[in-house]
Amino acid sequence: MSRDTGTTYWRSLNELQGTPQFEEMLHREFPEAASELPDGISRRRWLQLMGASLVLGGVGGCRWEAEQFAPFAVRPSNRTPGVPQRFATSHEVGGSGRGLLVTCYDGRPTKVEGNPDHPLSEGGTDVFDQAAILNLYDPDRSDSVIEQSAGQRFTRDWSDFDRFASRHFAALKRGNGKGLFLLSEATSSPTYQRLLEELQKNHPEAVCLEYESFSRDHERSGAQLAFGRVLRPHYDFDRARVVACLDADPLGMHPAATRHVRDWAAHRDPDSGSFFNRVYSVESELSVTGAQADHRLPMQSSSIRLITAILEALISQQLGDFPRETSRSESGDNSDPRLASRLPLSPEEILAPGQLRFVEALADDLVQTRGGSLLMAGPAQPADVHARVHRINDWLENSGTTVRYTAEPVAGRLSHRAAIDFLSAELREGNVDTLIMLGGNPVYDAPVEVQFGDALQKAKTSIHLSAYRDETSDLCTWHLPRAHAFEVWGDTRSSEGTYSISQPLIEPLLTGRSGLQLLAAFNTGNPPASGDLGKRFIQETFYSLTPEPPERAWDTTLHDGFLAGSACEPVNVPVVSSLQSTLDAISLTPPQRSLEVVFFSGPGCLRRTLFEQRLAAGTARTAQ
């Protein structure tokens, strides 16, 4: 399609390249075999067969099957046959727990809803929580242990693996675990952490890593820059009058989205008597938040850094004298503390007039409502943007009101990207004797330059626990089927730290085991007995968490679905003075008029493949 402007538009990559498939598609009215019958069968024969099928289809109804009752030998307490029961439990999406209330009909889970008492859910769920039930009954889930040796695959069962594992891990233990690497998905499970420490104790030289393709690691390193330690920000939409989202989607793809949505919606009701909030969104995709925003500015993901800097300059100007943090710094060489001077060009030169008006209005609004405004950056944004945002929130006196920080439970781990780089380097050097992968599919979703698939084959033994037989399973020595969260015991922490137990609602349908069971078996050398779904490990962790009489607290927690008051305490940490020099070192490039590739996850209908594939939460890497 050419217009006078000379710009050529295209609607698919095939069209752009002019492939033969596209040419054929262009000249066919219908796809192949849609308008004419495929070869090999005549129309007459077709009608005969279809007619006969139609007639015989009715015959199936001509019978009255004798039915049987199979009542329990011992009916479980509180169970009335035919009356649905609801159980509070939890599951994890991308390393953060969700409080759920699952309806079971005669012992079969049928529907997932949010736990109305859970502080984060309040009865709300997102698409991934709802889809968990479909995942449970997915016929494509892996149902067998598979061993691959000498290029051939053998279907084994768990006892074969247990025999192999007890031999193999005893040998590893003798070598202090040298060459043992463990790669897991992001998980918030305290029991997992405990078992991991135990593994580390048994195998002092073992290396435990975590990898998640869509991770919130930039958030972590942003806090590290701004506060000198890893903190996790929490947003309070109940107090936020003005919300500015920089490539962030707090109402859609955020571990606490259900909570955000409720609080946000409560302040969208003109009759509520409370204030009415206003949402600004500057983003590169159309997110849920962007779609609900009062003001939305489409912007290249890579330009968000610049927008943040301009916003910071405008706000510091508006706040008049030196912002608090800068005045505290003792660097002394800041003769001109005006941040506007640090921009490569003046805002007028960088932004179009409409964009500038938007940013100025936003800065205005944020300053007007300071103490009740909220600025946030998305997980795809680099660490320095997060750090800048933290500092602006600090200037605006939002820290402690609309945004609170809690300590990360596991502060000292490698970032996900560094972990996968490190692991593939170790693999290539032949340092990996045994690689255990608990969940995840790194062959598919690790960055392409890592070439993880090639590296993986250098491991002498690789064990992959996965709900599906996927790309990674195909390259591993052992593939083990993973149990669904509704089939085994587990525990989780939601993003603000609330501890939840996840209880089995049905026996494992496809003989799967959980990562916890596997880890415990590696530690003790004893495979789980039949019917043992890992309750003991969860209880041991739980008893260490609660000061109350443990038995009673366990029952209460199991019933309620979460341990009340277990959320992390907010911490108050000042912004470090070295942040300014860190930010100075980062060059701010004006927006480029070029194409940009953004990998992101979101509840859009066509773009969920990566996310669904892993059921992992989070974010994106940005490449230009």
């Binding site: 009255w64 049987q68 009752f69 009542p71 030998a73 011992v74 009335t80 046959p81």
Partner: protein, 229 residues
């Protein structure tokens, strides 16, 4: 190979005059067979499958006067009147051990007829009872909605307390359901007589039924969606 075409002999022409009569008779036959032969009255009433345990309702409910709800506990609170778990049987029937002694008081600890019950108790596997009253899946019947509104067990299940082997006595057809939904009074009784199968009303059942209907404010629906949901 060319074959000679078949011709009907000439005498068959006379039969064509009989066609209306034959047609009429065939029609009558078909209607009779369909109406009577396929009616639930013919196909379902009297259905008495053999159960894995020869449990006698006549003995337990009739002679021993166990209340229906001793075993069918959920009938007042749920749609489904649950078949009791094996545990309920074990309240009275426990097997003797190898020495012939029984830990608790037990009726017939050595009975061979009770063997499936003892096996189920030991293994935890269910006893597979045959279903006698089987409504189609598109008809939703709720026990609790009926027994808490004055409809006795006997109205649908008959005198189970006189049955050695449980059998279906009512057709459980839609027309039969609607008869009662349209004219409930004769079939209603005070709530404390619900499970008393041999209850004889002191006065005319219509009068008592009308009083119960009045007291409980009953107005049974005949809307399709009441049962076909």
């Amino acid at each position: 190979m060319p074959s000679e075409r078949f011709h009907f002999p000439a005498w068959t022409n006379r039969l064509t005059r009989l066609l209306p009569i034959i047609g009429g008779a065939a029609g009558l036959y078909a209607v009779t067979i369909l109406a009577l032969g396929a009616s639930p009255e013919t196909t379902d009433v009297g259905y008495a499958p053999q159960q894995p345990v020869p449990f006698s309702h006549k003995l337990h409910a009739g002679q021993l006067k166990l209340d229906c709800r001793y075993c069918h506990t959920t009938v007042e609170e749920a749609a489904h009147a649950a078949i009791p778990p094996t545990q309920t049987c074990n309240n009275c029937h426990n097997p003797a051990d190898a020495n012939g002694s029984v830990a608790t008081v037990s009726v017939h600890p050595n009975s061979e007829k009770l063997l499936p019950v003892f096996e189920s108790q030991a293994s935890g596997a269910p006893i597979k009872w045959e279903r006698v009253h089987d409504l189609p899946d598109y008809a939703c019947f709720n026990h609790s909605a009926h027994v808490t509104r004055g409809v006795s067990c006997v109205s649908c299940h008959g005198r189970v307390d006189q049955m050695e082997v449980v059998q279906q006595v009512e057709p459980l057809s839609m027309a039969w359901c609607l008869d009662c939904h349209r004219e409930p009074a004769p079939h209603l009784r005070p709530l404390d007589r619900i499970a008393q199968l041999d209850w004889v009303p002191e006065e005319a059942s219509e009068v008592i039924g009308a009083r119960v209907q009045e007291e409980l404010g009953l107005n049974p629906s005949t809307n399709c969606s009441t049962c076909h949901r």
